[in-house]
């Protein structure tokens, strides 16, 4: 056997292992510890050339700046609308299958027939609206405008099809949404290599179209008629995590992809006239910008409409409420597709439709839809609203007394309230307890405080997850909590009787705790609700809701919310309370403290009673409030337990409540009690002031609607209709139009108090707390108070601030004050933070670029946009900012053509695109246009073309033009082949910068690429200035030297007068000018030229004639066509098409006809040179055509000589001899020549030698001469004395 030499092992030179080895090696050499080459070898990195350094710096800066996009304000709503995923592809490529698979992947439901958009919840924060797009170009155009993501399905076994490229180009024009390719039919490849090759080829082609690196997804094959689960899952993941760039058109216009349509027309009208205009309501998620009521919209394929009514509805496919979990549970995986008949509950303005889905569908749908609860509860109510109203009660705050309907009247309780006071010395906020009659002044501030607190609550609810989780098991956490903070708390309680001024932030602590409890109870609430849905429970919930609705109108929304929460909480807490203890105290204590502490607490409550009398300024403790709340909980729970003896129990409960007050309310608690009333009062006051101003300006909402009609308000134009009489209004309507606001009752500015009323408006007046220079200075001093001058060694001691003084005092009072300690700590932290901020500000100052500033500004604006209307309820919010994107809205539209309803096909998308101001108007639109390089023909001016601009698709007649260097817009007959040109049409005004595309026909399927041209809108105007060239021709009829009389160019002297001074030209290029009209032939004129004309010359003048654009605008109404024929819309035909269809041939002018070219033989005349010239010419140039020798007369002809043979011999010999001689002579001459040459060479050599010799001699001579001279010079330099020597 032959032993083959095995391959030698090769050392690895790269890869992680090799790196490691290298490192180890270096370490062994004591080199590796310095990983930074810059540190190891600083010389190599030193600046070699300043210029290169500058260049490289410049380059990096350039690159950095290139990366920047112009920052835009982020206007994405807090709860964004579902993302529109358009699944596009040629027929039979697997679109429907993919959609089905995706829906099944996200919702575990299988939709057999999909019509129209399907909305699903795909993740915690994302919903998708999936819609299929066929290859009808109308649909492709419409969907490209609303798509956020386009899934382009490509049949890999076939390759790319025209539709794919068309859709890509449409997308490009309309803003380019995200695009992802999906390759299907990959199982049809037999060989792996072929598959790989195809994938690669398709991928690279796709990249050239979209962008290098665009995602192309592979769906390898089908299993049981569906794609593989894992691949679909991956695709779904890709979609759910995808990020989107905002597109200009989409973000600046509101739009809706309707997923439901209803005909609201009066049936009687339809019966009498089946073709009457319809009233239609359309439903869908609002996307893009804010939609305002009564604004204009465009429905592509139908036309322009004015929104007659908009209302928002509860979200039919809502996102899950809490976001704690990692994934969705089954009941949150919703699907909504009314066109396909999926989606359970349908909301209307005045009705709710429940799709029960057959006899077995009921339980399932209940599981799926949380909104069913409401419906269920509505069905299962027994008692009337009035009864519930009477029995219902409202809690404004978690620890306040629940209010029954009978409680509202007798509210005049006399209890201490809290008033915020600012301690001048310390700057702390103290809360003074005052009594009811003083409360009016302090109401406001308290109200604000209350709001703040509730907000804080909310904040904590949302943010502190760990806390809420902690609170899930009330008892457990209570103990834990105690172990953490117990000691401190105990001490506080012990010291309660002592007058202690505690810092204000303690009460936030309190809030925090309470919120945690609330959270816990909420949690419980939910869980319980889920577990046992007995009728009683549901009724309770209902009650709470009824209370909310029937409650005082003056309640704040937030209070409302907390009320309902409290009620629900109490309901659900009852079980626990009943099982754990017999009295309310115990449960509360258990939640927060151990048994012994509860005893302490009860004693505390009595102590508190005393303290109340003393009117002590005291801290609000968490404990008592908890106690009260628990008390209330119990009482509530008791009531709720049995509904038939409600009244009786309520009395009992009232009694209990009173007891509570008498025994347990401290100052703090009473403050709490009053808050509710104060809040209500404050709100009422607010209601009286602000809405009055609003009402004064805008009137009530109903009146608004009347005003909007415009035509209806005949008399006054909506002026002061609310408050003023007609006569007054009349007077007002014609009064002086002046913007100045005259002072009706001037103040007396000589009075001191009047003057004082504006004192603070001046810099000389008093400043606010945070801006007062003295205060800021003091703060600074506090910050930099203590310092040591290092040079002199002096130690400067800052003034010990008032805070520290107080601290000292406190320290005297008691040894350890934990809160004081805390405050000190906090102060220290504050100081540190401030220092750090200052340092940061200083440090970053150099880094802050213009770009950063701009970005920061935008971010700030975005935050403000979000925050401004956040706290208002949707009804009010909608009025101010319009319907915001993300809402599910219902839009009513009137005067819709009946075909829209009759021929409705849910497969076709219905898009409601909002129009901006004056985008509904028409005018001339100028744009930059380029014929698409794949379109085979060029476009002709005045041929109708279908444009897709903005939301619209319409047919119009464009004129093409090109701009000359002097700004003249010259009409073109055809578009250039490979160049941009201008185009103008008469049509809807669309903002500048909007992209557009043109197609020649939307009907049927054309063989080639359908997109004829693309471009961008440049300008909008009400007039155009496109001109075409017009040449006027005339003929000279009399010619003087340079002046000629021209006729035939004009018809009258008047016309000539108009063109006096105009430039004219002959065909041969002689330029001239029109001078003056002539009398004789009408329209003739005198003109001067730069040269004399010929009678055969044609004179012409170039003029420019303005052309008009035909006012033709014809929207493509493809949606009105009958189902199945929606892709057959054909508008105005071109002249060519008309001729073709009617068989009319174009009559060509005779001159334009082609004839066979017959070339005549060219005949040239001979050149004649005059005799005189011939004489003068040199002989060389003289014509050599000698006259032919004339015939020699016979007598002159010499006779031929015939030699004798002898003579002939002699002649031959002589010839031979002469030849020999001449040959000899020739040789001799050559010889001589050679000899001469040689001789010449020798001579030359000799000559050279001679010259050389002479040169040498001369050299020698010169040298000697030079030496002599030098010597002489030297001696002369040395002076005469030297010379003498």
């Amino acid at each position: 056997m032959e032993t083959k030499d095995p391959k030698k092992h090769r050392k690895k030179n790269s890869g992680p292992k090799a790196e490691k080895k290298k490192k180890r090696h270096l370490q062994a050499l004591q080199l590796g510890d310095e990983e930074d080459a810059r540190k190891r070898n600083p010389k190599a990195f030193a600046v070699q050339s300043a210029v290169r350094m500058a260049r490289s710096f410049h380059r990096t800066q350039d690159l950095k700046t290139k990366k920047h996009h112009i920052p835009v304000v982020d206007r994405t709503p807090v709860e964004p609308p579902p993302i529109v995923v358009v699944v596009m592809g040629p027929p039979k490529v697997g679109k429907s299958t993919l959609i089905q698979c995706l829906i099944r992947n996200f919702t575990r439901q299988k939709l057999t027939e999909i019509r129209g958009p399907v909305t699903i919840v795909s993740g915690k924060k994302r919903r998708l609206t999936i819609i299929e797009c066929g290859c009808d170009i109308n649909m492709m155009i419409d969907l490209a405008k609303v798509a956020d993501l386009a899934l382009m399905l490509i049949d890999a076994s076939f390759g790319f099809e025209m539709e794919t490229f068309e859709f890509l180009n449409i997308c490009q024009v309309h803003g380019f949404p995200k695009i992802m390719g999906v390759l299907t039919h990959l199982d049809s490849f037999k060989y792996n290599k072929q598959l790989k090759k195809t994938k690669k080829r398709l991928k690279h082609r796709f990249w050239t179209e979209v962008y290098p690196g665009a995602k192309l997804f592979y769906l390898s094959g089908m299993v049981h008629g569906e794609y593989q689960n894992q691949e679909i899952h991956n695709l779904g993941r890709f979609i759910t995590v995808m990020k989107f760039r905002p597109l200009t058109w989409q973000t600046s216009h509101p739009y809706i992809l309707a997923d439901r349509m209803e005909d609201l027309t009066n049936p009687e009208d339809i019966r009498t006239n089946i073709k009457c205009d319809r009233k239609v309501s359309l439903y869908g998620y609002l996307r893009g910008g804010h939609l305002k009521n009564k604004s204009q919209i465009h429905i592509p394929g139908v036309g322009d409409f004015v929104v007659s009514d908009v209302s928002f509805l509860p979200d039919p496919c809502a996102l899950p409420e809490q976001q704690k979990k990692r994934c969705l549970n089954e009941k949150e995986k919703l699907v909504y597709a009314p066109f396909s008949g999926v989606g359970g509950v349908l909301y209307d303005k005045d009705a709710v439709y429940v799709d029960l889905g057959g006899s077995h569908g009921f339980q399932e749908s209940e599981e799926v839809r949380p909104t069913h609860e409401l419906v269920q509860s509505l069905i299962s109510t027994h008692s009337t609203i009035d009864a519930k109203m009477a029995s219902s009660r409202v809690t404004l705050f978690s620890d306040s007394k629940p209010l029954g309907s009978e409680d509202i009247d007798n509210q005049g309780l006399w209890m201490p309230k809290e008033e915020k006071q600012v301690d001048l010395k310390t700057g702390r906020v103290r809360r003074k307890a005052i009594f009811g009659d003083e409360e009016d002044e302090s109401g406001d501030s308290d109200d604000e405080d209350n709001k703040e607190m509730s907000e804080g609550d909310r904040l904590e609810n949302s943010s502190s997850d760990d806390e809420t989780e902690e609170g899930e098991d009330a008892e457990m956490t209570g103990k834990q909590y105690m172990s953490g903070k117990g000691i401190k708390r105990q001490k506080l309680e012990m010291e309660e009787d002592i007058e202690v001024d505690l810092p204000a932030f303690a009460d936030s602590d309190d809030d925090l705790e309470r919120s945690s409890v609330e959270e816990a109870t909420e949690e419980d609430d939910e869980s319980i609700e889920e577990e046992d849905s007995t009728a009683e429970e549901e009724r309770d919930i209902l009650e709470s809701k009824a209370v909310r609705e029937g409650g005082k109108p003056g309640l704040l929304q937030t209070n409302d919310l907390s009320d309902s929460l409290n009620l629900e909480k109490s309901l659900t807490m009852k079980k626990a309370t009943l099982t754990t203890s017999d009295s309310g105290h115990c449960t509360a204590e258990e939640a927060f403290a151990s048994e012994d502490e509860s005893e302490e607490n009860s004693s505390l409550s009595t102590e508190e009673e005393d303290s109340e009398n003393e009117e002590v300024i005291r801290k609000k403790f968490p404990k008592p409030s908890q106690v009260v709340s628990s008390q209330k909980l119990v009482s509530e729970s008791l009531i709720d337990e049995t509904s038939d003896i409600e009244d009786l129990l309520r009395e009992e409960e009232d009694y209990k409540e009173e007891n509570n007050y008498s025994t347990e309310t401290s100052g703090a608690l009473k403050w709490k009690e009053d808050l509710s009333r104060k809040a209500a009062e404050a709100f009422l006051r607010q209601q009286q002031t602000t809405p009055n101003l609003r009402k004064l300006i805008y009137g009530t909402v109903t009146e608004d609607n009347e005003e909007e009609d415009g035509d209806t308000k005949e008399e006054l134009g909506g002026l002061f209709r609310v408050s003023q009489s007609a006569s007054e209004c009349k007077h007002k309507a014609d009064s002086l139009d002046c913007s100045r606001f005259h002072v009706e009752v001037p103040h007396d500015w000589d009075l001191e108090e009047v003057m004082n009323s504006i004192r603070d408006c001046f810099v000389t007046g008093k400043w606010e707390e945070d801006k007062d220079a003295a205060k800021i200075l003091a703060e600074d001093e506090e910050l930099y108070g203590d310092f040591e001058d290092l040079e002199t060694g002096d130690v400067h001691k800052g003034k010990s601030g008032p805070d520290t003084q107080v601290e000292d005092v406190e320290e005297e009072v008691k040894e350890i004050d934990p809160n004081a300690e805390e405050s000190a700590k906090k102060k220290h932290l504050d100081k540190k933070r401030k220092l750090k901020e200052m340092f940061d500000a200083e440090y970053d100052e150099g880094e802050n670029t213009y770009f950063d500033d701009l970005k920061g500004e935008m971010q700030k604006q975005a935050q403000l946009n979000r925050a401004e209307f956040e706290d208002q309820d949707d009804e009010a919010r909608v009025q101010y900012e319009g319907f915001r994107p993300g809402m599910y809205v219902r839009i009513e539209i009137e005067n819709v053509p009946c075909e829209f309803v009759l021929n409705f096909d849910p497969h076709y998308p219905v898009i409601l695109g909002g129009l901006g101001n004056s985008e509904g108007n028409v005018g001339y639109v100028q744009m930059r246009l380029k014929k698409h390089r794949w379109y085979k023909k060029i476009l002709k001016s005045r041929d109708p073309v279908i444009f897709s601009v903005g939301w619209r698709r319409f047919q119009t007649i464009p004129l093409y033009y090109i701009e000359d260097h002097n700004g003249r817009q010259r009409l073109l007959k055809y578009t250039p082949q490979h160049m941009h040109c201008g185009a103008t049409f008469w049509g809807p005004i669309t903002p500048q910068g909007t992209g557009f595309l043109a197609i020649q026909s939307v009907s049927g399927i054309m063989a080639d690429f359908r997109i004829a041209a693309t471009g961008v809108v440049l300008d909008l105007d009400k007039s155009i200035k496109i001109v075409k060239k017009l040449k006027l021709t005339g003929f000279p009829y009399k010619i003087f030297k340079n002046t000629s009389f021209i006729k035939g160019m004009f018809n009258s002297a008047l016309e000539v007068a108009k063109f006096e001074g105009a430039v004219i030209r002959t065909v041969s290029g002689i330029r001239g000018q029109i001078k003056k009209a002539l009398r004789a032939p009408e329209g003739a004129f005198r003109a001067t030229f730069e040269d004399k004309l010929l009678m055969s010359d044609i004179v012409f003048m170039r003029t420019w004639y303005p052309v008009s654009v035909p006012a033709f605008y014809n929207p493509v109404t493809s949606l009105l066509k009958p189902a199945g024929e929606k892709d057959t819309w054909s508008g105005m035909r071109t002249t060519g098409q008309l001729r073709l269809s009617h068989g009319i041939k174009l009559k060509a002018s005779k001159d334009s006809l082609y004839k066979p070219v017959v070339r005549q033989k060219k005949h040239f005349n001979s050149l004649h040179i005059p005799k005189a010239l011939q004489k003068a010419l040199p002989f060389k140039s003289k014509p050599k055509t000698q006259a032919k020798a004339g015939k020699i007369p016979k007598d002159r002809l010499r006779p031929a000589v015939i030699r004798e043979p002898h003579e002939r011999k002699i002649l031959a010999l002589l010839d031979a001899l002469s030849t020999v001689h001449s040959e000899k002579m020739k040789k001799a001459k050559e010889q001589r020549h050679l000899h001469n040459k040689e001789h010449f060479k020798v001579k030359q050599k000799e000559e050279e030698e001679k010259l050389k010799r002479q040169k040498d001699l001369r050299k020698k001579l010169y040298r000697i001469q030079g030496q002599k001279e030098r010597r002489n010079q030297k001696s002369s330099l040395k002076g005469p004395g030297e010379q003498l020597k």
Binding site: L736, P746, C761, L1020
Partner: protein, 373 residues
């Protein structure tokens, strides 16, 4: 066919400017009927006709139809064109009447507007050119309308009844406006002003200055009131004198007041001392009203807020003038926009009367006239 935006209909000649300006900006046609229908002299007045003519000059493609008596006006707006324009204003109203509307329209032209207005510069009815220069221009700057060519120059001063004033106004073009947040007016740090006199003794101006200072000095020492005495052809055709004052705050807010003498043949002569004192008091009154925008420019600020991007703008105003209130109603009918109106009661601070905080989300207006290059 795109439906032409349905037209709005009004009655009466009041607020004619607002309606026409908003119509031009929103592109919605407007019909105004019963213009002084019951009056002895019915129909449009000269100054209104002049205003309509001015609108026609600065727009392209506007359609204006007026019936025979002039009691009905139909206005279908075209696109704002701009460019170099000259206009002779009617002397029944001062140039301020025309300029107020031009300030609203000028930023949205196709070509930057450069207009020469001739007429009365100062009268007792309208805000004078000086005050607009001192208050409205800084306000526009807050919205990002700024540049070298942004100026308002008083070439000649013309008083009633002769007129003869000349004003040059030029304004650059903007595609979009910036949102503003003017919620804190700051504190007044200085007071400036100008006492002007034409065709009267130059001493008048000095007398005005002294009396005005006597009032204002109690509040702030930084007061400077210029005197401006125009002569010859620059002084217009009629005699008169007046004073305007403007208070500037630390945050760049300008509050103004002005007073003009009675013109020739109108009532009793006014003493310059009285005029100075009254004007100073008017300024105090304006300061008492307060806000970040003075009372004459409220509507301008609100309009520019409306025409902003889809962002929240806020402005703190003094009490709303009747003109502004009507303007808000018009804004609602033309742009479907409602302002959130919150009254801010003055607390214990001595800062004058109650303020109103106006908040709105811009409609995302963009200048449709401007050419894209």
């Amino acid at each position: 066919m795109a439906t032409q935006a349905h037209s709005l209909s009004y009655a009466g000649c009041n607020f004619l400017r607002q309606r026409l300006v908003l119509s031009t900006l929103s592109g919605r046609p407007v019909k105004i009927r019963k213009i002084r229908a019951r009056d002895d002299n019915p129909g449009l007045r000269d100054f209104e006709a002049s205003f309509i003519r001015l609108l026609d000059k600065i727009t392209n493609g506007s359609r204006i139809e007026i019936n025979q008596t002039g009691t009905t006006l139909y206005y279908q707006p075209g696109l704002l064109y701009g460019g170099s324009v000259e206009h002779d204003c009617s002397i029944l109203r001062s140039i301020g009447y025309y300029l107020e509307s031009l300030l609203c329209l000028a930023p949205f032209m196709k070509h930057p507007l450069r207009i020469v207005l001739r007429g009365v510069t100062n009268d007792q009815v309208d805000p004078s050119v000086d005050v607009l220069k001192a208050t409205a221009l800084p306000l526009l700057k807050q919205f990002g309308i700024d540049g070298e060519s942004f100026e308002l120059k008083i070439v000649r001063r013309g008083m009633l009844p002769g007129g003869g004033g000349e004003v040059l106004f030029s304004c650059p073009v903007r595609k979009v406006l910036k949102p503003i947040q003017l919620t804190d007016p700051g504190k007044i740090r200085r007071i400036r002003g100008m006492a002007y006199s034409v065709r009267v003794s130059p001493q008048m101006a000095n007398r005005i200055v002294d009396s005005a200072r006597s009032i204002l000095n109690k509040f702030i020492p930084d007061i400077y009131i210029y005197t401006d005495h125009m002569k010859g052809v620059n002084a217009g055709r009629s005699p008169g004198f007046g004073l305007w004052l403007v208070a500037e705050t630390t945050n760049g807010t300008f509050l103004s007041a002005e007073l003009v003498s009675n013109h020739q043949g109108q009532g009793a002569a006014v003493l310059p001392e009285d005029l100075g004192r009254n004007c100073a008091k008017l300024l105090l009154e304006e300061i008492h009203r307060g806000g970040c925008v003075d009372s004459t420019n409220q509507s301008l600020a609100l309009l520019l807020m409306t025409l902003g991007q889809q962002d929240v703008s806020k402005v703190l105003l003094g009490p709303l003038s009747p003109y502004t209130i009507e303007f808000l109603r018009h804004l609602k009918s033309f742009f479907q926009i409602m302002f959130k109106i919150e009254t801010k009661p003055c607390g214990e601070e001595l800062k004058g009367g109650d303020k109103v905080l106006m908040t709105c989300v811009g409609i995302g207006f963009s200048n449709l006239s401007k050419t894209l290059k």
